[in-house]
């Protein structure tokens, strides 16, 4: 089995690598510049020395490896091993992290709380509930969410399969669900883990189907409740408008209503509820009986035949039913996933993420053609994108502005920092305007600089740079001397040039260096800064190199600088 996998991997690798040639020279880029560009788009930021490593490996080969997404990740796995909630199934999540209302119900049923104690002292009431939770081994949902936020930060910072993490972020945002909606929040960790990440580099159609059937999406866009005689159009509308065709994709309100009818009966298997009558009924049935009675169960997904609208429907000119049950929805989603409007819409979104806020139509057309020819194969579409001159054009290089998350993680990677408390990084990302997994609308975060950059968020980016570089983000550690292989810079000027180059590889940094030089080399200023920064003053290095306090301040300013906001 292992042999087969490896052989398959080699085959895959060969097929991606074969014939790949990136046309960066035609665009006037050196190989090193091209490697830096590639890293800036398909990773969460280059680590020091990574540009050289990619050049050494070969750009095409590096990209193939990233597409394959099978690099060993032992160091990441070790970091994640302390997070015990990350592998729980949705049902286990419901059992371990019951919602407040459910705890209350159970406590009442057990007689721990009488129904009139709700009227009394709220503090005492809360204490009773808290004790009850401890007794039962229940944990607050906040703990699940904390672990979930932390894993995103650790994966982005340390995974060797960077492209897979970047694509996971991309597709999550495309098929957005939000922690702000309590009904779906607890299912979001499994949504990312079981639906988005495994499909991030697969076929687009598989992602559409898998998201449609996931509890997180079924609750977020309300399809769980949609039934014959009581349809809810939210999901049917958004799957066309936001997930596939796009708002100008050529569908009508009539199509939305008909699609909603096709998707009636698609709901969530009652999770963690053994006393639920439906669960008991289903448990008593054999697989054959389930099919006969019109049920389809797939993991947490449940199709209930008698909630499905059995009449014929027509969506985008294609007929569904009568009475085809679950398969109607499967056919509908496949139809949407391979529609030419979808190809165009998805490829534009990819190009906005990876090329520029206003990608050229010529590039989108090429990508869309591949999307249609290769049945929505995401890897093939990415290859077309990177093999196109538009990807390497001067208008594209450095033109994307990092999201707050990208800024934070790229800083960690630039400094080769160790994160002991990822939640602290999460808080900073929120402060800079990107509360992870919490964009309320199904559109997901607008992926453009205009959205991320405003006066408040920009000041917070600068403050973030200063905070991380001066070691004031608890649980984020690094060693600036180690970054430069413990070679001591000969002068303040040399230090500035060295660290600017390490943090901003292959960028035009002469002006940045020129502007920062006076600060670093003014001994009077340096003395004052060191005195003001007592903690750092004790570690002051010998002349003539800059003091550690000054050096970390300079690094903070580089991270907060305009050049570092670009990728």
């Amino acid at each position: 089995m292992k042999f087969v996998c490896t052989a398959l991997g080699v085959l895959l690798l060969c097929s991606f690598n074969r014939g790949l040639r990136f046309p960066y020279r035609q665009a006037g880029l050196t190989e090193r510049q091209a490697a830096a560009h590639l890293l800036s788009r398909f990773t969460y930021g280059a680590t020091p020395g990574e540009v050289d490593a990619v050049v050494h490996q070969g750009l095409e080969r590096w990209f193939s490896k990233q597409l394959e997404a099978r690099l060993p990740d032992d160091s990441l796995d070790l970091r994640l091993s302390g997070y015990d909630a990350l592998q729980l199934s949705n049902a286990q999540v419901r059992e371990t992290f019951p919602r407040n209302g459910e705890v209350l119900r159970m406590a009442r049923k057990d007689g721990t709380i009488s129904s009139d104690s709700a009227m009394g002292d709220p503090k005492a009431y809360k204490d009773v509930l808290k004790n009850y939770m401890q007794e039962k081994g229940f944990k607050p949902l906040q703990e699940l969410y904390r672990q979930f936020y932390c894993q995103k930060i650790l994966r982005a910072a340390y995974s060797n399969n960077q492209l897979q993490e970047v694509m996971t972020d991309f597709w999550f945002n495309h098929f957005n669900v939000s922690m702000t909606k309590g009904d779906c929040a607890e299912f979001i960790p499994a949504y990312e883990r079981d639906v988005i990440r495994p499909g991030a580099l697969g076929k687009f159609g598989d992602l559409v189907l898998a998201t449609a059937k996931s509890p997180a999406m079924l609750y977020y866009l309300d399809n769980f409740s949609s039934k014959n005689g009581g349809i809810n159009e939210n999901y049917a509308r958004e799957v066309m408008e936001l997930h596939t065709l796009g708002v100008d994709g050529g569908y009508t309100q009539q199509d939305v209503t008909q699609a909603a009818r096709v998707l009636t009966g698609w709901t969530v298997y009652p999770l963690g509820r053994e006393d639920n009558p439906l669960v008991q009924r289903l448990a008593a049935m054999s697989p054959d009986q389930m099919v006969q009675r019109g049920f389809v169960r797939d993991g947490d997904f449940l199709f209930i035949g008698n909630r499905h609208d059995k009449d014929p429907k027509t969506v985008l000119g294609t007929e569904f039913g009568p009475d085809e049950g679950y398969q109607e929805g499967v056919r509908l989603l496949a139809l949407l996933a391979r529609h030419p409007s979808t190809a165009h819409f998805i490829c534009k979104e990819l190009a906005v993420r990876f090329v520029s806020d206003n990608p050229p139509a010529s590039l989108i057309d090429k990508m869309a053609q591949t999307f249609l020819d290769k049945n929505g194969d995401i890897r093939k579409v990415l290859i077309t994108m990177v093999s196109s001159p538009e990807f390497w054009a001067p208008e594209a290089v450095r033109e994307k502005i990092k999201s707050p998350f990208e800024l934070a993680i790229s800083s960690v990677r630039s400094l080769q920092a160790t994160i002991d408390q990822p939640y602290q990084v999460y808080n900073w990302v929120s402060r800079m305007g990107e509360k992870l997994y919490a964009y309320q609308a199904p559109t997901g975060y607008p992926d453009k600089g205009q959205y991320w950059i405003n006066t408040g968020s920009l000041l917070n980016r600068m403050n973030f740079g200063l905070a991380i570089a001066s070691g004031r983000i608890p649980g984020v550690h690094f060693d600036l001397a180690a970054l430069n292989d413990h070679r001591e810079p000969e002068s303040a000027q040399a230090a500035l040039e060295t660290y600017t180059r390490l943090i901003l590889p292959e960028r035009q940094t002469a002006e940045t260096v020129r502007r920062l030089t006076p600060m670093l080399s003014d001994p009077a200023l340096a003395g004052k800064v060191d005195a003001a920064s007592n903690r750092m003053a004790n570690e002051q290095g010998p002349e003539p190199g800059p003091s550690p306090a000054m050096l970390s301040q300079v690094v903070g300013i580089i991270i907060g600088s305009p050049e570092y906001q670009r990728r």
């Binding site: 309320q440 405003n454 903070g556």
Partner: protein, 424 residues
């Protein structure tokens, strides 16, 4: 078109001297005449919105106390204006409606016809999900989830001029609210004091860093980063003109020591700093009263006291600025007419809201409320929505901010105003 950047670069900071020197510099006046930007530095109108998250029980906030059905439906929650007993009675507004005593701070402005109430307000979409209902109310499109922008962000775009300063639209909250999602500039801050380059315990280092950043953003290639960078430092300087930490509210206003009190205090500071604030947003919670709602004391009364005392401290503090400010509350839906089994109320439909300002049609309870007999209730259980929230929001925005084109502010809405604002 006078751009935001042009304004700031050309004269934004110089304007702060105007209050001292008097008069408007000639070049600004010229620019104003040339570009027809008439409200360049005239004190602008400000709309302040407070979202009461969790769905306020409108029937407890403003009780139709003469309704026998309500009394029957709420054996332990019903209150009356009748004096006697130890509990505080309702404040009789008009012989029909009684204001919950925790809102007593509102009574003077209601009597003074500054405070208008709309009863039976809500969304045409009958969802009883907090999330969905808030989402719809904030996007302003009750049947469309994918509307990318919030209604207040669209309002910024319809003010008839570019956002003149970084503080045109501000939310005092930790994250950008759905109401302000969109393409027009808006800032979310939880604390004005954060609006600076900060290095704890090292002000000198912070100062140096600020200078370096300013320099680097100034020299970078023209575009978003350069422009916003320059605006950021101008914004910092604007705020530095005032001692935010030692702010003394006017009229001896006492803000409650609560998140809402602090947010409104900061909004008042921004208004008085003349930094160009036009739309402000903040929120409060504690309205989802399923359990132990209480009457004169309890969850509801606590939240109501905080809301009324915060708003009235703000109003007192505004002092001479009151003419320019309208404050409006909103909540996603109301609560069931019947109390539930745990001394509370569940998710319902219609609620009420408060609109405070000198151009409101105040001292009245607007809207339509039929007797709460079961046949008059939505789904046999809830106060029906008799006024679409868009009718009220668009009327307030239109009259106060002089926004024309309600249909753009609320796509798909073509209803009429209900008269909560006085005719100009």
């Amino acid at each position: 078109m006078l751009t935001r950047r042009g304004f700031l670069k050309g004269g934004g900071l110089a304007l702060f001297g105007i209050g001292l020197l008097g008069g408007i510099p000639a070049f600004i006046a010229e620019a104003a005449a040339r570009e027809k930007v008439t409200r360049l530095y005239k004190k602008g109108k400000v709309l302040v919105c407070i979202f009461q998250r969790g769905a306020m029980d409108g029937l407890m906030a403003v009780t139709p106390f003469a309704d026998p059905y309500l009394q029957a439906a709420r054996p332990t929650l019903f209150m009356t204006p009748a004096k006697g007993g130890s509990a505080a009675p309702l404040i009789d507004l008009d012989g029909r409606f009684g204001l919950h005593p925790a809102f007593q701070a509102f009574e003077p402005v209601f009597r003074d016809k500054r405070l208008a109430i709309v009863h039976g307000i809500g969304s045409p979409n009958n969802t009883r999900s907090h999330f969905d209902a808030q989402d719809y109310m904030e996007s302003g499109t009750p049947f469309d989830k994918a509307t990318p922008s919030g209604w207040l962000n669209r309002a910024v775009g319809l003010l008839g001029h570019d956002a003149l300063t970084p503080f045109s639209a501000v939310s005092l909250s930790s994250a950008m609210p759905r109401s302000l999602y969109g393409d027009n500039p808006a800032v979310a801050i939880s604390n004005l004091q954060d609006f600076a380059i900060q290095m704890k315990g090292n002000p000198l280092g912070a100062n140096m860093a600020a200078k370096s950043f300013e320099d680097l953003y100034d020299q970078t290639a023209p575009g978003l980063l350069k422009q916003t960078g320059q605006e950021s430092f101008e914004a910092v300087k604007m705020l530095q003109k005032t001692d935010i930490r030692n702010y003394k509210p006017a009229g001896n206003a006492q803000y409650p020591n609560s998140a809402l009190g602090s947010a409104l205090k900061q909004i008042a500071q921004l208004i008085k700093m003349d930094v160009g604030l036009e739309i402000a947003f903040t929120e409060c919670s504690g309205w989802d009263t399923h359990f132990g709602q209480g009457t004169t004391a309890g969850v509801f009364a606590r939240s109501a006291t905080d809301l009324a005392d915060s708003v009235m401290a703000f109003w007192t503090d505004l002092d001479t600025y009151q003419d320019d400010v309208t404050l409006m509350t909103m909540t996603e839906f109301g609560r069931t007419v019947h109390q539930n089994g745990t001394g509370g109320t569940d998710h319902g439909r219609g609620s009420c809201n408060f609109i405070l300002g000198h151009d409101t049609s105040g001292g009245l309870v607007h809207g339509e409320l039929k007797p709460l007999a079961q046949e008059n209730l939505e789904d046999g259980r809830d106060l029906p929505v008799s006024t679409d929230f868009r009718a009220v929001f668009s009327e307030v925005a239109d009259r106060h901010l002089r926004i024309a084109g309600e249909r753009v502010l609320f796509p798909g809405w073509n209803g009429n105003p209900i008269g909560v604002m006085r005719q100009a």
